[in-house]
């Protein structure tokens, strides 16, 4: 839901002539109307993606209105809800301000090594929040409650705002701000009058991701003992096995997440794009540079450097290395990579028909299918996990606590990442190339195989990789759904951290950083520098 529309093809020919050919291409794309088989496949995929939400609605509402009202009015529940909302609001506000400031500094002011800073600003995304929390707790065991959770979550989620805003700033006209200055506005006033409206949609879309992240985060708040709804859901489920209460709390969390999504849709708005001229970064004085350094460095230091420092100090202690259970670590690596690959494959299969529909066809049905496909974006992991526990118990008891349900949960949760990249990859294959292949004797299927598939393959690969990385970092759904006897790196880390065995947890955290966070860093580095070059 934060995908930028694919860049318009820049016509080099006389405008009217290329308009004709573009219209011709469009007409060809939709000439046969939306193919029925593709709609069927897409609907099936969307149906699968909707299972967790639909089944949660069934389970959450079947206990009756009285029970729901009674549960929701308990003091603990109100506290959880207030904590979730407060944390989400504070984190979103902080990430918005900090992310916008970082984006502005890096794209509009002349700073040394701008590329390095941009890359550093994207790094916090790669570190799972519970690893950041773990790293801090190792160094500062007293870091608990609202304030540490809020600050750390803000640092980790800041890139969701900074990266899209930096991209929007590059596309925005900087002349307007100069015009505002010459008309008598001060620097801040000029920014808000001229530049902010142009980057507002990007900032708000990023803010949505931050709010959803904060609402659905489980590992970090649980480690820092700040009881939010996700924590309450897990407690209700695992401590008392009070299934109905857990379902009602999950429903409350979903409603909050969906309200955030709806609110973002109505607040985002659109910017009409003028012809943007590249703006040369403004030179600033040394004093100003020094003053801005903490702003730009805050998130990478708090969200990445300090946690990794904590992790490393604990890892290299002799005691840690002596207690290391290598076979157990390798088993966790194996199951982590195994479920991640399976989840990536399933997510790509489910996402493919939806991405193919979205890339080439329009219409109500198509956008409905797409929206359902993106549902996982708004669903907290713990909610999907809980709902699938109920679903498998009630509908497919054979599969309860099987790896199939676990992989399915990952696929639903992270399918939006695959849909997003594959959709734009498919849409970037020019229809004219397919037409050329047809005139050269290829049937539609053969042309698809020889032209569309090879050209779209890299985006399928990136989509699969994104899903695999996200899967390896997932914690709450894994805790609820993992089959007995299977431990992933995330659950091993979790099990040790909750009993304060920080030393024993260190190897798992380190390997998780190596196999999940490092590829994520590389990938986000590639993507942000690729965007930079556009």
């Amino acid at each position: 839901m934060t995908l930028a529309p694919p860049a318009e093809a820049a016509p080099e020919l006389p405008v009217a002539a290329s308009e004709v050919s573009l219209r011709a291409a469009g007409a060809r794309a939709s000439a046969g109307r939306t193919p029925l088989w593709l709609v069927l496949l897409g609907s099936l995929a969307a149906l699968a993606a909707s299972i967790p939400l639909v089944y949660l609605l069934v389970r959450g509402t079947e206990s009756g209105l009285d029970r729901i009202i009674e549960t929701l009015s308990r003091g603990r529940v109100l506290e959880y809800a207030a904590n979730s909302l407060g944390l989400a609001a504070a984190t979103t506000a902080t990430a918005l301000v900090l992310g916008t400031a970082v984006a502005f500094t890096l794209s509009r002011l002349r700073v040394p090594f701008p590329r390095v800073w941009l890359l550093a600003s994207s790094l916090p995304l790669a570190v799972p929040s519970f690893i950041a929390g773990y790293g801090w707790l190792v160094l500062v065991p007293s870091a608990q409650g609202f304030v540490p959770s809020w600050l750390l979550l803000s640092a980790v989620t800041m890139p969701y705002v900074a990266l899209p805003v930096a991209a929007a700033l590059r596309g925005a006209s900087g002349d307007l701000e100069g015009v505002a200055r010459t008309l008598g506005r001060g620097p801040f006033s000029a920014f808000f009058v001229a530049t902010w409206p142009q980057v507002r949609p990007a900032a708000i879309a990023g803010g949505l991701l931050v709010a959803l992240y904060a609402l659905s985060d489980f590992g970090l708040v649980a480690m820092m003992r700040f009881p939010t709804l996700t924590w309450g859901i897990n407690a209700a489920y695992s401590a008392s096995f009070d299934r109905a209460q857990a379902a009602i709390l999950a429903l409350l969390l979903v409603v909050m997440a969906l309200l955030v999504v709806v609110g973002e849709r109505s607040a985002r708005g659109r910017v009409p794009r003028g012809a943007a001229r590249a703006v040369a970064p403004r030179t600033i004085g040394r004093g100003m540079l020094v003053a801005l350094l903490p702003v730009v460095a805050a998130a990478p230091v708090v969200g990445v450097a300090i946690p990794l420092l904590g992790l490393t100090t604990r890892l290299v202690q002799a005691e840690t290395l002596r207690e290391l259970d290598v076979p157990r670590l390798l088993a966790a690596v194996g199951s982590t990579v195994g479920v991640a690959l399976a989840a990536a494959a399933l997510a790509v299969v489910l996402a493919l028909p939806i991405a193919a529909l979205g890339a080439r066809y329009r219409g109500r049905l198509v956008s409905a299918i797409e929206s359902v496909g993106y549902l996982g974006h708004a669903l907290p992991g713990i909610v999907v996990g809980l709902s699938l526990v109920f679903f498998s118990l009630a509908v497919l008891p054979v599969l309860y606590q099987s790896v199939v349900v676990l992989v399915f949960a990952y696929a639903v949760l992270f399918m939006p990442k695959a849909i997003g990249t594959m959709r734009s990859g498919l849409a970037d294959v020019p229809t004219s190339l397919v037409s050329v292949a047809r005139t050269l004797g290829d049937s539609p299927l053969r042309a698809w195989w020889r032209v569309t598939v090879p050209l779209a393959l890299p985006s399928v690969g990136i989509g699969a990789l994104l899903v695999a990385i996200a899967t390896m970092k997932e914690l709450p759904a894994t805790l609820l759904l993992r089959p007995t006897g299977i431990q992933t790196l995330a659950t091993e880390l979790w099990n040790r951290t909750v009993v304060f065995e920080f030393g024993a947890a260190a190897p798992y955290a380190a390997v998780l950083v190596l196999i999940a966070a490092v590829p994520a860093m590389v990938l986000s580095g590639i993507r942000s520098t690729a965007k930079e070059e556009l």
Partner: protein
């Protein structure tokens, strides 16, 4: 060999009629230019011949084989019609050689066919290159070779030279026309460039707002346009008001012999006389039989190297433009006696 016959073809784009009842026959081996301004429907007509757009009415056939009529379209891969699109549209994931060989079946002789075609378009050494390493002209050559590879009965070229710079365009299009003639391929070339259409094509079809305005040899189109719109579209014109009298138009240049186009004027009717600038010449260039003439003074000269366009003020106060070879040009302010060296075109006066 087989002709390409388009009869009564109409094509719609959404709610607008892009091609409206066009009929034309392209004879086997002929190179026909489809000429018209932007948005006149020429690309739509081309795409419907390629089988990429459906027909609203009419039919298209190659020889005895009907390939398009409303509700029935032989798919593009079964038509034997090649297509060179506007931007070369090479497959970016394939090398030059693989692009050329896209439609050549695997097996023996494939490599030979590819290198034969590559050298045919003058790119023999580049078959291992990636498309993004080619210049615009080279990419168009590859697109042409790729389309020729399966030996299509008909080849469609959609403004293939439009994106190239002028000098490259002139050379490449002459080369391509020679190549197509040598191959004996029936070709339809879409262009909005009059000069391109007139210099390359055996016959030119002029399209305007989806209608076929005129279909004829370049000379017919230029010297005997079927309407004043075609006359103005395919070249420069000099327009003069005058009166019709017995096959001549009396106007500022005297009584100029003329042919009435599309109507039959009566003596004394007001008409518009249209001349090409090069039909007006200094009197001394003419043999004695040239009739009409008028005195003029050279007001300005626009020099273009090989020829020049002169603006001449007539004694009656009008200004006419004439084009002459840039040899022994008169100077600005010189007096000339002008005459018209061939019959002009008479159109109804604008009400």
């Amino acid at each position: 060999m087989s002709d390409l016959v388009v009869s009564g073809a109409s094509v719609t784009h959404g709610s607008t009629l892009a091609v409206d009842d066009v009929s034309m026959t392209i004879r086997s081996g002929e190179l026909v230019a489809l000429l018209g301004p932007s948005g006149c429907g020429k690309t739509s007509l081309l795409l419907s011949i390629a089988g990429l757009l459906p027909l609203q009415s009419g039919s298209i056939s190659v020889g005895a084989r009907e390939i398009s009529r409303p509700g029935r379209v032989v798919p593009p891969e079964k038509r034997g019609i090649g297509w060179v699109p506007q931007e070369a549209s090479l497959f970016p994931h394939l090398s030059v050689g693989e692009n050329i060989g896209f439609a050549v079946p695997r097996g023996r002789g494939r490599a030979d066919r590819i290198s034969e075609l590559a050298s045919l378009v003058g790119l023999g050494a580049l078959t291992n290159r990636a498309p993004n390493q080619l210049s615009g002209g080279q990419a168009q050559r590859v697109a042409l070779a790729r389309a020729l590879a399966p030996r299509p009965e008909v080849l469609l070229l959609d403004e293939p030279f439009a994106a190239l710079d002028t000098q490259l365009r002139t050379g490449l299009r002459r080369e391509v026309a020679e190549l197509l003639r040598a191959q004996g391929t029936t070709s339809l070339l879409v262009t909005h460039d009059q000069e391109e259409a007139l210099t390359l094509a055996d016959r030119v079809a002029v399209l305007r707002d989806g209608h076929l305005e005129q279909f004829g040899t370049p000379e017919e189109i230029y010297q005997h346009p079927a309407s004043d719109w075609v006359a103005q579209f395919v070249g420069d014109v000099v327009e003069l008001e005058g009166r019709w009298r017995g096959g001549r138009v009396t106007c500022a240049l005297g009584a100029v012999e003329a042919a009435a186009v599309g109507f039959t004027p009566a003596d004394g009717d007001a008409v518009r006389l249209m001349l090409r600038p090069e039909w007006i010449v200094p009197r001394h260039d003419l043999l004695a039989h040239a009739a009409a003439g008028a005195d003029a003074r050279v007001a300005s000269i626009s020099y273009a190297g090989h020829d020049a366009m002169l603006s001449c003020d007539l004694t009656t106060g009008l200004t006419v433009r004439m084009r002459m070879a840039a040899v022994d040009l008169p100077g600005v302010g010189d007096d000339l006696r002008l005459a018209v060296q061939r019959p002009g075109l008479a159109f109804p006066a604008v009400a």
